[in-house]
């Protein structure tokens, strides 16, 4: 395939498009709709995915969490619910056993959401959406919490149920607008906790601020809000290499102390960033598959339209084909010309579809106040699919054009 010939075909294709504006526009509409529908859905999902993934990665690197309930469930219904419900609680004793026995973990901690309420300081009161969480020192690295000023929760705090707390940056800003919160007392549910540390600002995701919580020693929290509950464990491996080892070690120990018979499935869930992201993807897979199905139907219909219009075009331009053949075009030159024409026709529709699709998909980012996303890979796939439609549905008309007898074509009125 030579460049000059391709360029010639390309110019001719654009000429033909321009010469039949309305007809071309109507034909393009089909391709446009097909590509638009796939790009709009992919863009919208990508927008959400980016932000879900960034908010899921609140777990630190090489960290996984152990919990009684899975973090996302797809289908399953009552029976699955029953299965999870019957699981034994994950207790503080289990956590301590892990701390004692797991050798290769960097940190092991407990994170337990206790309540949501307002925080009252001597100066101000926050909205009643601040979460109170019971934690242990090992929770901090696994959750990516960095103490900006003051200190972290210590083992001593946990051992002796101290009424101390570390607060997130948004809480510090709201409850102590004028000065340092360190050493001050906040009240949560009428109980005072001394602020010993403030965390670094963690930004926001999905429009809500990260770090809108108060962290207290786990034991202090459980004494106040009750021990009969299942805790979440946060385990961080030393590095990526030991991640799998640590996971299997933790699994083994938990199975032993929870007396899970060999061969039976775990009676707890282990989630990591990767597993959460995988789960999110599997949830959105159905939506994506649906979009793909709809747009493939649209594209097939559009392709038939392209084929139809190309057949008309070949008939209309029989004489042109005859002239080209007379001055030296081979059959394959004519074939290529008309295939390129079909591809150009599809591409014009495709490009418009991709642009509109990306714009449309990013409306979700406007409504959900998420950062916009441009799925370049899908834009590329969209255009490739267009080319494929052009080639598939343009070949037959182009073949017809190539088979035209030049003598008859020159005589054609």
């Amino acid at each position: 395939m030579r460049q000059a010939e391709v360029k010639e075909s390309f110019v001719m294709a654009l000429d033909a498009l321009r010469a039949n504006k309305v007809r071309s526009a109507l034909t393009l509409l089909g391709i446009l709709v097909g590509v638009f529908s796939i790009i709009v859905v992919m863009t919208a999902i990508r927008v959400m995915q980016d932000s879900v993934e960034s908010s899921l990665s609140q777990l630190g690197a090489n960290t996984f969490q152990i919990q009684k309930w899975p973090s996302m469930r797809v289908g399953g219904g009552e029976r699955d619910w029953q299965k999870y419900f019957r699981r034994k609680d994950l207790t503080f004793d289990h956590a301590n056993a892990l701390v004692e026995r797991v050798t290769r973990a960097k940190s092991i901690g407990v994170d337990e959401g206790l309540w949501s309420a307002e925080v009252i300081s001597d100066y101000a009161e926050t909205n009643p959406d601040v979460r109170l969480r019971g934690v242990t020192p090992g929770t901090f690295p696994g959750k990516n919490w960095v103490v900006e000023s003051g200190r972290s929760i210590l083992d001593a705090d946990v051992d002796s149920n101290r009424r101390v707390c570390v607060i997130g940056a948004p809480v510090a800003k709201k409850a102590f607008p004028f000065g340092s919160p360190l050493g001050q007392t906040i009240k949560f549910h009428g109980i005072g906790y001394v602020v010993v540390g403030v965390l670094e600002d963690m930004g926001s995701s999905f429009g809500s601020e990260q770090g809108n919580f108060v962290l207290i020693p786990l034991t202090t929290g459980l004494n106040r809000y009750g021990w009969k509950r299942s805790l979440d464990f946060v385990v961080q491996a030393k590095d990526q290499a030991s991640f799998d080892d640590v996971q299997s070690q933790v699994r083994g120990i938990l199975r032993t102390i929870r007396k899970v018979p060999p061969g039976e499935e775990d009676d707890f869930d282990m989630v990591s960033n990767d597993s959460l992201i995988t789960q999110f993807r599997s949830v959105t897979l159905a939506v994506r598959a649906g979009a793909a199905a709809v747009s493939s139907i649209a594209l097939v219909v559009a392709g038939i339209g392209i084929m139809n219009i190309m057949l008309v075009s070949v008939t209309e331009r029989t004489r042109e084909i005859g002239v080209r053949r007379a001055i030296g075009a081979k059959k394959k030159n004519i074939l290529l010309q008309f295939i390129i024409e079909a591809v150009v026709l599809c591409q014009v529709g495709g490009i418009v579809g991709v642009v509109l699709g990306i714009l449309g998909g990013n409306l979700t980012s406007l409504f959900l106040q998420l950062p916009p996303s441009v799925p370049l890979d899908w834009a590329l796939y969209g255009l490739l699919i267009c080319s494929a439609v052009g080639v598939v549905f343009g070949t037959y008309p182009a073949y017809r054009a190539a088979q035209v007898n030049p003598i008859e074509a020159l005589r054609y009125e």
Binding site: A4, R325, A326, I327, L410
Partner: protein, 237 residues
């Protein structure tokens, strides 16, 4: 050897049950630099002969040697190549690409000849200059008069320096004054050494040539040289 060697050329058409001889056993030779008119009423076989000489068609039997190339046995792609390099077509209805400029129309044979764009442009401009349209290169066919369109078509025929220029009723769609101008152009091209074959049914057009081959019922009825006195010559400009 002559530029065009036609030996015992026959072309049959099957029309249902019937077999029609469009050409029977025609033999003719045309030398390089000749200016020949092929005449005959419609249905005489002159179009068939023209299509064969133009390599648009293949004979049923016989030999056709063009510029030393045996073309009667060639396949479709080879014929396209021969048409591109050896033959310049001029049609009654001009047959230009309506949406392309004069320059692009003239360049087209060179596109298929796989010649680079710089040379293409150079040679197309040269050819347009030869037909007196050096100042009309960016015009599209609908911005040109009939005579100018035919000149563009002639430039297109010339551009790849073919062995023969094959014109099919080149003045058929022109008024008589413009027709005379076009015939003058052919004369000029002929005087520069181009081999020209004009197919026509008009005696006046044919009389510009130096030799007339008359076809009737698929046979050559006459092959006559025209004496300088009988020739119509247009004053060369």
């Amino acid at each position: 050897m002559s530029l065009i060697e036609v030996r015992n050329l026959s072309r049959l058409y099957h029309m249902g049950e019937e077999t029609v001889y469009a050409l029977r056993d025609v033999s003719v030779g045309i030398e390089k630099g000749e200016y020949v008119a092929i005449m005959g009423p419609s249905g005489s076989g002159k179009s068939t002969l023209m299509n064969l000489i133009g390599c648009l068609d293949s004979p049923t039997s016989g030999e056709f040697i063009l510029n030393g190339i045996e073309v009667s046995e060639m396949d479709d792609d080879e014929l396209a190549d021969v048409r591109n390099r050896q033959i310049g077509f001029v049609f009654q209805t001009f047959n230009l690409l309506a949406r392309s400029t004069a320059l692009h129309n003239v360049e087209l044979p060179l596109v298929y000849a796989e010649i680079d764009s710089e040379t293409r442009r150079e040679r197309a401009l040269e050819a347009l200059g030869q037909v007196g349209l050096g100042d009309r290169v960016t015009h599209k066919p609908n911005e040109l008069s009939g005579g100018q369109r035919q000149r563009v078509a002639i430039a297109r025929a010339l551009v790849n320096r073919p062995a023969i220029i094959l014109a099919d009723e080149p003045t058929g769609n022109l008024d008589s004054k413009t027709g005379v101008e076009i015939m003058a152009l052919f004369e000029e091209l002929s005087s520069r050494g181009n081999t020209i074959i004009v197919v026509t049914h008009e005696e006046e057009v044919a009389r510009h040539a130096r030799r007339i081959i008359r076809i009737r019922d698929g046979l050559i009825a006459a092959d006559e040289r025209i004496s300088p006195e009988d020739r119509i010559q247009v004053g060369q400009s």
